[in-house]
Amino acid sequence: MDYFYLTTSLVKIVALLAVVLGIMNYTVYAERRISALIQDRLGPNRVGPFGLFQPIADAAKFLLKEDFTPGHVNKFYYWLAPCLAMIPAITTLAVVPFGSSLFGVPMVIADINVGVLFVFAIASLGVYGIVIAGWSSNSKYPFLGGVRSSSQMISYELSLGLAVIPVFLLIGQLRLTEVVSYQIEHGWMIAPFVGDWTNLRKWLLAIPMLISFVVFTIAIFAETNRLPFDLPEAETELVGGYHTEYGSMKFGLFFLGEYVAMITGSAIIVTLFLGGWHFPGIPDGSQGWSWGLVNIFVFFSKVAVLLFVFIWVRWTLPRFRYDQLMRLGWVFFFEIALVNIFIAAIILAYFPA
């Protein structure tokens, strides 16, 4: 038994979980404040300075509410669904490198060589939470929400998977730490030409990478059920969608699961396209533990910027109609992602490194 490995892993798991749950709570707060500011309101600003204790008040409210189970639901699945919505989103974070290294310990919980496949495999389990919630609630609005969710997820999972293929064509590795170290050497994936302005190959490669980035980001929006793709919830059409019949902390798990999925999605976008924890000019953790901390900070700052974009988009765009959503998924993103793979392959074939 390697006790050093076990202890460091355990510490990393606990620390990452704490950080992510903290970020999650404050994302909810940020969502409320930013949406308010965008709509010329003020948002929650009463609990503590600037309303910063609002998440605590929210959590207390969730926990103290009566945990009510309606009589007409399928009890087992009704209880199972919220967990299924939350757990995959958090589990995915295990393979994401959130920093370089601290005291020689790599800042990733599980550096497995199937990296991104693991992410897709686990993240798509999240749809079961929603579908099972829809079915077990035994009521028509949640049911419609569940049906919508399953078809939407399947449609966008496809472009999600296809969009990242160019990245891995280029790198030749699925391991996410390798993806980051490749980007440190060759420039960030969406702008590989930075610092190497005269390299034609990098300029050409930026085209498929940018397309990948856009398609992947939009697919993540759909995966996390955020507007403009929030059809499974669609408050105006389906009351509350799949979680109509849920209350108190069970609803809280769905609600927070969405935010954790957002954080996970942003973390993966950052890792794949935006250079992970790397920032030009900042050395990695082997230069001293303070740099290791800075790297972690850089990573979460990038995630925070993406989270802001998520929120910003949500409060800008209206919801798609269902047929538009399907058309967009199958007729545009699927094709674009497919063609993009060929573009990347051709560039790689004619301009070998």
Binding site: L37, I38, D40, R41, V214, W312, V313, T316
Partner: protein
């Protein structure tokens, strides 16, 4: 008759969604920035900021009883307001002045005068109907309480809100 709504022909730029989405995002971020730096000011921080000095002359707040110059409660317990009140918020128990009283000519006064502020709709009909100009709608609007009983204004409370009203009705004056 069916009406066909003609759809505008979109050019490729409009059909590509993304430019339109980006311009939409530019608009929202402008609002965000203006709010963040306090350039837009639309919300009044209510308990800290109030608009009391800008309330219009005709504002209808809590109804209240008033006294006249001699300190007498102007109300003569005619109960017109009790009858006109649409939600039946007013309850009056009239009493009679004793024979030798200074105001014996007035005959009646309200022994009890309750207005249930949970029921009151601030319509102002009581003020309008009162022949004695004894009840007025004041500018108090923050009427709160923890129980239903708290929300019933009795005679003392009503007089406290109302205070003294000078002038106007003089018909009970001894000299007349």
């Amino acid at each position: 008759m069916a009406i066909t709504v003609s759809r505008p022909k979109l050019n490729w730029r409009e059909r590509a969604y993304l430019p339109a989405i980006l311009s939409g995002m530019a608009i929202t971020i402008k609002h965000f920035r203006n709010m963040l730096f306090g350039r837009t000011k639309v919300t009044m921080q209510y308990p800290e900021e109030k608009w009391d000095n800008q309330m219009p002359e005709h504002y209808r707040g809590a109804p209240a009883l008033v006294r006249d110059d001699t300190g007498r409660v102007r109300c003569v317990a005619c109960q017109l307001c009790e009858f006109i009140c649409p939600p039946r918020a007013i309850k009056i128990i009239p009493g009679e002045f004793a024979a030798g009283d200074r105001f014996a000519k007035v005959e009646k006064f309200p022994q009890e005068f309750d207005i249930d502020m949970i029921r009151c709709i601030y319509c102002g009909l009581c003020e309008e109907v009162c022949p004695e100009q004894a009840i007025y709608l004041r500018k108090d609007y923050a009427i709160t309480g923890f129980t239903r009983a708290d929300m019933v204004h009795n005679k003392e409370k009503l007089l406290e809100i109302g205070g003294v009203m000078h002038g106007v009705v003089l018909k009970w004056n001894e000299k007349k």
